[in-house]
């Protein structure tokens, strides 16, 4: 007989959020975010580092709000799809900056599905408390869009796997203390079949992180060198050589947030501010271009609403959802281009400059938008997938 308490992963929830009406829940989170999230950190022009926004996320962790999608028994808020959508929409509306949240978004759900009891107890509490920050080791110098060609190897040696290779474009690896990585464990198998999903601790000898300075002068992405890094064999998630399947299972409905209209809506506000300050807002040529973009953003909202309704009904999203990412990212780029064009001489300054009554960095939206058509599957890869899987065109 066993009447032992269930393992406690994180703080208890104050209440059953799903028992609230959608309207009440929205009002509650909106009020919390509006009241407590610092104005200075809203809609930042670049990805914030952990030391800049950790106060907010530690507050969320202490409140039990860091993992809204996780089930309550694992220490999450246990939100239904419609409540989760509201939670995320309110974060977007306030312009709350993400932290390196791959632990919450990726590692947690993967361990809940494929992890052993020991793995869950070892890693989930650190994710919920934000003591452990995870980064994603997928891309390599010669494996970007063609990810299945990755060459970082892991070889079994006694109780450990020994990892040798290099990862790149690792988001905020310099804020992380853990990595989940795809590594090749069977060099003789077909590309997608010899890959395993491994967890590793950055405190292990042989890990070196080098930030990559980007066009805007910021360091958001890193290279990670793995030189004889040992990780215990119990850090293998799922079966050996089944890493591709494990990684693919992560493509959940979070994909719709790559198409959230809030960021381009904010871009339009910046554009309008710049145009008014430079006295061209009433110019008919500017106005025609502005209204075209305004319609593109409004229509992003309509197509986003279409997919949000699918999520709200609890139905799965198909591969067609990637049109959202294409439309959102390309619209953001057009807005950024028009901001530069409208800004005149300020369009050549990568710093907050005084334009009229406000200080605006007219280039920040440009730099921010460049990478959006590349990460998470470039626009070209998205179009390949849509052509094959949705339009049924021949390979």
């Amino acid at each position: 007989m066993s009447t032992t308490e269930p393992f406690r992963y994180g703080v208890a929830q104050e209440r059953d959020w799903n028992a609230m009406s959608d309207e009440d829940f929205r009002a509650l989170v909106r009020d919390d975010f509006d009241t407590h999230y610092p104005h200075a950190l809203r809609f930042p022009s670049r990805r914030l580092r952990w030391h800049e926004n950790k106060d907010w996320h530690l507050r969320m962790a202490a409140k039990g709000w860091i993992a809204p999608a996780w089930p309550v028994e694992y220490g999450g808020m246990g939100l239904s799809p419609s409540k989760l959508l509201i939670f995320m929409e309110e974060q977007e509306r306030v312009g709350i900056a993400r932290f390196q949240d791959h632990g919450v978004l990726m590692v947690g759900p993967v361990l809940m599905r494929y992890g052993t009891e020991e793995q869950k107890r070892k890693y989930l509490p650190g994710i919920l408390s934000c003591e452990d920050i995870w980064c994603q080791g997928y891309s390599e110098p010669n494996s970007g869009s063609d990810l299945a060609s990755l060459r970082t190897r892991a070889v079994r040696d006694g109780d450990d796997f020994v990892i040798d290779g290099q990862k790149i474009w690792t988001t905020l690896a310099h804020d992380a203390n853990h990595m989940f990585a795809l590594v090749r464990t069977d060099p003789d198998a077909k590309p997608q079949q010899g890959i395993s999903f491994l967890l590793l601790d950055f405190a292990s000898p042989g890990v070196r992180v080098r930030p990559i300075r980007d066009l805007s002068g910021h360091e958001e992405f890193c290279e990670v060198f793995l030189d004889g890094v040992r990780t215990h064999h119990t850090n293998l998630v799922g079966a050996l050589n089944q890493g591709w399947t494990v990684a693919k299972s992560l493509l959940g409905f979070e994909r719709i947030f790559l198409g959230s209209p809030k960021l381009p809506e904010y871009g339009l506000q910046v554009l309008e501010t710049v145009a008014r300050a430079r006295g061209v807002f009433d110019d008919p040529v500017f106005n025609d271009r502005f209204v075209s973009l305004k319609i593109d953003v409004a229509h992003l909202g309509d197509i986003y609403g279409h997919y949000a309704a699918i999520v709200g009904r609890g139905e799965p999203l198909g591969p067609d959802v990637s049109l959202l990412k294409i439309w959102a990212s390309e619209t953001s780029q057009r807005i950024a281009d028009l901001i530069i064009d409208t800004a005149g001489p300020f369009g050549g300054m990568n710093a907050a400059a005084r334009i009229g009554e406000t200080a605006i960095n007219a280039l920040a939206p440009f730099y921010k938008a460049r990478v959006q058509t590349i990460y998470g599957g470039s626009s070209e890869i998205q179009r390949n997938i849509l052509a094959r899987q949705v339009l049924d065109l021949p390979g």
Binding site: N287, D288, F290, V291, S292, K294, I295, A298, H299, D302, I303, G305, H306, D320, L323, I326, W327, E380, R383, N384, L386, A387, V390, L391, D392, L393, P394, G395
Partner: protein, 373 residues
């Protein structure tokens, strides 16, 4: 209306309006520009009563149902003027009061084809100051002036919107009435619109269907309804044009391979599909806004401009690109794609094209932003 009712209606419309391009070709350029027998069949299906409230003996199903049918007719490139004479005229007459009841019955029964005549000779979109002028003369009202882009040109009767003092009146005028002259102007798809000249046309009191106090609001909602429904019709046409093009890309072989295996063409096809998907979502959102009791007149007009700005732009983009993806065969009259291109050109230009609706969207959204600021 339940989802089930809507699905049944969509299925019924799809099975009635199967693409029959031989028929579409046969009626092109005919005196009516469409088939009166088909028109009567659609009346017998009850479709012209869809947007008529139940209190006026209609089905009361709203634009959601009306646009569903328009979209299916668009898929088959039907030239029948369903949006104008099957949705707009009944919508308008059903809300015009008791006087219009016998006129409404004739229209929903399919016995009289009636068209709304509201645009001036330059094709402006202003519903507040129509080009025709109404003056009171004893018991009658007298109409003078011109209306243009009236669909179909062969309509038996017209609901004429005329500036009456400070307001807009709506008047029932028959084609054969004294002082009415009609010139048919051909459209790209083989249908025609009417250029209506009114030379001291006398309208009896029972044919004054909306007073100058009520006419402007009714005209505006009727035009918004028609604009959104014709956007839905354009989406249906895009569905078929894209389907034809994807079939062609899968089967046409050059250099020993289906041309749809070439990445350059795949990406262009994906872009067309994206535009169709976005357009469908935008039009669906506009339909919901129109049907929602919570929407005011400005929200409905904004929704109409949103829908038509996107639908007209996407339809012309698809027209251009589907021709190009087909190559030379896409430029011929004997290949079916051309029927969809010409229908898209006609519908895109009717009641405001993409640029006109973008301008109006910009103006309306600027004022609503100020109003809520």
């Amino acid at each position: 209306m339940t989802d089930e009712t809507l699905t049944m209606l969509a299925d019924a419309a799809a099975s009635f309006a199967k693409p029959d391009t031989a028929r579409v070709r046969a009626v092109r350029g005919s005196a009516d520009g469409f088939d009166r027998a088909v028109w009567k069949q659609m009346a017998d299906l009850g479709w012209y009563a869809i947007v008529v409230p139940e209190s006026a003996d209609g089905l009361g199903l709203g634009l959601t149902a009306g646009a569903t049918i328009a979209s299916k007719l668009g898929y088959a490139a039907f030239p029948e003027p369903f949006v104008s004479a099957g949705l707009m005229a009944p919508w308008c007459l059903a809300r015009a009061g008791a006087r219009a009841a016998p006129l409404l019955a004739a229209v929903t029964g399919g016995d009289v084809v009636a068209a709304l005549a509201w645009q001036d000779e330059r094709g402006g979109l202003d519903t507040d100051r129509p080009g025709a002028i109404a003056t009171v003369s004893g018991a009658d009202t007298v109409l003078r002036g011109a209306c243009r882009f009236v669909v179909p040109a062969s309509a038996d009767a017209f609901v004429v919107a005329a500036t009456a003092g400070d307001g807009v009146g709506l008047y029932w005028v028959t084609r054969t009435q004294a002082g009415v002259s009609v010139t048919a102007e051909p459209c790209a798809d083989g249908t025609a619109s009417a250029w209506l000249v009114l030379d001291d046309v006398k309208v009896a009191p029972e044919h004054c269907v909306a007073t100058p106090a009520d006419g402007a609001a009714l005209l505006r909602s009727t035009v918004d309804l028609g604009t959104i429904a014709s956007s839905a019709e354009l989406v249906g046409g895009m569905d078929r044009a894209l389907e034809l093009t994807l079939d062609y890309l899968r089967t046409r072989k050059q250099f020993g391979k289906p041309i749809g295996s070439f990445q350059a063409l795949q990406h262009r096809a994906v872009d067309l599909w994206i535009h169709r998907q976005v357009t469908r979502a935008v039009v669906d959102a506009a339909i919901r806004t129109f049907d929602s009791p919570a929407s005011d007149a400005r929200a409905r007009t904004l929704a109409a401009s949103s829908a038509k700005a996107r639908a007209a732009q996407s339809a012309l983009l698809l027209s251009n690109q589907t021709i190009q993806l087909h190559g030379a065969i896409g430029t011929t009259d004997e290949y079916d794609l051309g029927l969809y291109v010409n229908r898209a050109l006609t519908l895109s230009a009717w009641m405001g094209n993409a640029s006109e609706h973008r301008r109006r969207f910009g103006a309306l959204s600027a004022t609503s932003a100020k109003a809520t600021a």
